[in-house]
């Protein structure tokens, strides 16, 4: 059976560098007081420290069934990990010690239970029962053990049980376990049971336990893998696997199915070596899959999933004949830098595969050793794919008779200094005000710490948060008096002076038709203005004594004032508040976008042609030779003028 990676686990003893354990490499029978935690990791702390570890949450949980927790990477591969790590340079490198450390720690055993290992269920007739015969076996053991006792009979109980591969592990208290172990060699459902005390008082890992045969095979594959790894070049050579004498001897490539399984197994072992993606990336940069008769990458798909950060891949000498055979790698290998495809039939049948590769693998630079694009080109292509915000322009201020401007210049000063006068002058009985808080806004990480929302939140009318009719209408303030009553409660503010610090504001203003005419004279309503202002203010909350900056947006709908009062009145005033974050300065001309380079080049070509009389093609050649340095282009032109052919010029110079 091919190793199935994560599904199986060798609980082989490993020897982290420098650990004093006597277990050295290879497969090892469970014996002695060595303990293994829930993941099947050896506990190098030894049994003496056990009581401390019993208190960990995991241990206290004492699972009796395989849990839903994802299986950890196969630790059986640890030996190869050691070899790989050693080959990576100095065996005691950080990486190596990290890997070895990572397999330690995390205790996990069920307190007070003694574990027995029972073999035979799988071979028994009961194995064909619905649950694999487990419940039959357990009740058989409890019954037999109970009846075996001499003298006062006591009910023997199995507290926990756990099927793992060939074995069933049963946990019972010490007294009961002593009775249960006597069932060794008893016959159950036609087979002689083997009941032995499990090598320690640990709860076996919640994974299938390998048969000795599997473990041995795994060890052999690991050995082969480590031979095929070159630490210096960070290359894993998985080429011509079917010709590997050892693999052939093992029968790993006897049939196609077997070969595919073997390959998956190899990948799983590789995967198990590394705790993090970074470790994997650091250890293996290149893989060769050359000369493996692969006609569809499905057969080796696991390379892509196991090594998503691979840099170099050699696929040469395989049997890929069309894009279909490569389809499964689309969107994989995001870091791939070079790929070799020589000797595949696709080279003759569909040479366009190269273009497709450049699309699929965003970082791919070269194919078959030929550089197709530079790193800079890749970076440019990536930048071009990044989303670009809609450019900003200065204020879109379509004012009417300067009304909007006048309003803004007055408004914020008045709001800061005399809200009552402001409300009575520009607001009337039908004016509306509300504020809305966005407490999740983006803020500048270098900005000041955000201010609390306490002073605003109880009157915030963010309709995404305030859902009841009652609360919504309560938080809509209608009429100058109601508005002023609220304003009195809100923190004091100081807005920047708009004239002096214009760039702290963004304001747009447009005419707006169809406003209600309170006089009823105009059936179709009156024309007004709508203003949107964005900015910041300093705040002083007189109640909490906090000060600081806040960002705001404020929308005003202005209508002509009614006779006798101010020139305008505020129909609607909506204040949106967010944590302070400086505005973009829309008053400076935007810097020329990179796309403008092309335009600049065109302009230079035209200018050079104009000054020299050259046709545009020659101007362009000349400019590109001097990296678009116009002055140098002129110098070169003057130097080479006499050597230029007549067709270089629009007309005779």
């Amino acid at each position: 059976m091919a190793p199935r990676g994560k599904a199986t686990s060798t609980r082989e003893a490993r020897n982290p560098l420098g650990a004093k354990s006597s277990s050295r490499g290879g497969i090892q029978k469970r014996r002695g007081p060595t303990r293994v935690d829930t993941d099947g990791d050896l506990d190098m702390d030894g049994p003496s420290k056990r009581p401390n570890r019993g208190s960990t949450a995991e241990a206290a949980g004492g699972r009796s069934r395989p849990s839903g927790r994802g299986p950890p990477p196969s630790r059986g591969a640890a030996k190869v990990a050691q070899i790989v790590m050693k080959q990576l340079g100095n065996g005691s490198s950080d990486l190596a010690s990290r890997v070895s450390r990572s397999t330690r720690g995390r205790g996990g055993y069920t307190e007070g239970l003694t574990w027995l290992r029972v073999r035979g269920l799988k071979q028994s007739k009961a194995a064909s029962n619905s649950d694999g015969g487990l419940s039959d076996l357990l009740s058989f053991m409890e019954r037999k053990a109970s009846s075996l006792q001499s003298g006062r009979k006591r009910q023997v109980t199995i507290r926990k049980s756990h099927k793992a591969g060939e074995y069933v592990f049963v946990g019972a208290n010490k007294e009961d376990a002593e009775e249960l172990v006597k069932l060794n060699t008893f016959t159950f459902a036609g087979i002689q049971l083997e009941v032995v005390e499990s090598d320690a008082d640990f709860e076996p890992p919640n994974k299938a336990t390998e048969s000795p045969e599997t473990a041995e095979l795994r060890a052999k594959l690991q050995a082969i893998l480590s031979q095929r790894y070159n630490g210096e070049s960070k290359l894993l050579k998985l080429d011509a696997l079917a010709a590997d004498a050892e693999l052939v001897t093992l029968g790993m490539f006897e049939t196609r199915e077997r070969a595919l399984k073997t390959f998956k197994g190899l990948m799983a072992i590789c995967d198990g070596l590394f705790k993090t993606l970074q470790e994997k990336k650091d250890a293996i940069e290149s893989i060769s899959l050359a000369n493996n008769s692969i006609d569809n990458v499905i057969q080796v798909e696991s390379v892509a999933t196991t090594f998503p950060q691979l840099k170099n891949l050699d696929m040469s000498g395989n049997l890929i004949s069309n894009m279909e055979g490569l389809q499964r790698w689309k969107g994989k290998f995001k870091e791939l830098d070079a790929i070799y495809m020589t000797g595949n039939p696709i080279e003759g049948t569909d040479p366009n595969y190269q273009a497709t590769f450049l699309e699929w693998f965003p970082k791919l630079r070269s194919i078959n050793g030929i550089e197709l694009r530079t790193e800079q080109q890749i970076a440019e292509q990536e930048a071009a794919r990044l989303p670009k915000p809609i450019p900003q322009s200065g204020p879109d201020f379509r004012d009417v008779n300067g009304i909007g401007e006048q309003f803004l210049l007055e408004f914020f000063t008045a709001y800061d200094t005399n809200r009552e006068a402001l409300s009575s002058r520009l607001y009337d009985a039908s004016s509306q005000f509300s504020l809305a808080v966005d407490a999740q806004s983006v803020r500048d990480p270098n900005g000041p710490p955000p201010l609390p929302w306490g002073a605003y939140i109880k009157s915030s009318r963010n309709l995404l948060k305030i859902n009841t009719h009652h609360a919504r209408s309560q938080r809509l303030f209608k009429g100058a008096k109601a508005i002023n009553d609220l304003w009195k409660e809100l923190p004091m503010t100081k807005h920047p002076n708009m004239k002096d610090e214009l760039s702290k504001y963004i304001m747009d203003c447009h005419p707006l038709p169809g406003l209600a005419d309170p006089t009823g004279q105009s059936q179709f309503g009156v024309d007004g203005l709508i203003l949107a202002v964005h900015g910041e203010f300093e705040e002083y909350d007189q109640k909490s004594g906090t000060t600081g900056k806040r960002s705001f947006s404020r929308t005003f709908v202005l209508a002509p004032g009614l006779s006798g009062t101010a020139q305008i009145r505020v129909v609607s005033d909506m204040l949106s508040l967010r944590t302070y974050s400086a505005l973009p300065n829309v008053f400076v001309a935007p810097s020329p976008a990179p796309a403008d380079t092309a335009n600049q080049h065109q302009a230079m070509i035209a200018e050079l042609s104009k000054q020299t009389g050259m046709v545009p093609q020659y101007s362009e050649m000349c400019l590109s030779q001097v990296e678009w340095d116009f002055a140098r282009a002129l110098v070169i032109f003057n130097e080479k003028k006499s050597q230029l052919p007549p067709e270089a010029f629009v007309s005779a110079p």
Partner: protein, 163 residues
């Protein structure tokens, strides 16, 4: 004097639909008065300080931003600015009084604030935005048997700013 609060709920849902349309790059025409013959003027669309002549042009502008640009609103508020909007109304509005009572003839100013996310993933750059809409009745939807899928309100004025 008090109109039903239905307005705010209508707004909330229509704004949600609008940003959904933006995010999915759906056609935006049906959200604007440009889609109705009753309105002789086009919607006034101002995006980051530039006037955009048509909803289709705005769609184009949105597309130039590239893939995976996501608008997400975090705050929303609305005021009724004219309970009985007349602009572009037909001479005989269908069930005029009933519609006025139920608030279907009003015009509304809506402000939203939220984030634009440029690109996928948690590290993608984000910017705040604030946007103001003036919504007016879609007279075409106020008929005995209005065509299906017509919006009840249409955008007459829009002002977007990335902040």
């Amino acid at each position: 004097m008090t109109l039903p609060d239905a307005d705010t709920e209508v707004r909330a849902s229509s704004e949600g639909a609008y940003y959904q349309a933006i995010n999915s790059r759906a056609k935006l025409d049906t959200f604007y008065i440009n889609s109705s013959n009753r309105y002789s003027i086009p919607a006034d669309i101002s995006i980051n300080g530039s006037v955009v002549p048509t909803p289709a042009e705005y769609s184009k502008l949105l597309e130039t931003q590239g893939e995976n640009v996501l608008y997400e609103i975090e705050s929303l508020d609305a005021h009724i600015i004219n309970p009985s909007f007349q602009y572009g109304a037909p001479e005989n509005v269908y069930e005029s009084e009933k519609n006025e009572k139920s608030g279907r003839k009003m015009s509304i100013v809506v402000t939203t604030m939220g984030k634009v996310r440029f690109g996928k993933g948690r590290d993608a750059p984000q910017k705040m935005f604030n946007e103001t809409f003036v919504l007016v009745p879609n007279w075409d939807a106020m008929a005995r048997n209005p065509a299906r899928g017509l919006k009840r309100w249409l955008i007459m004025s829009q002002n977007f700013r990335a902040l």
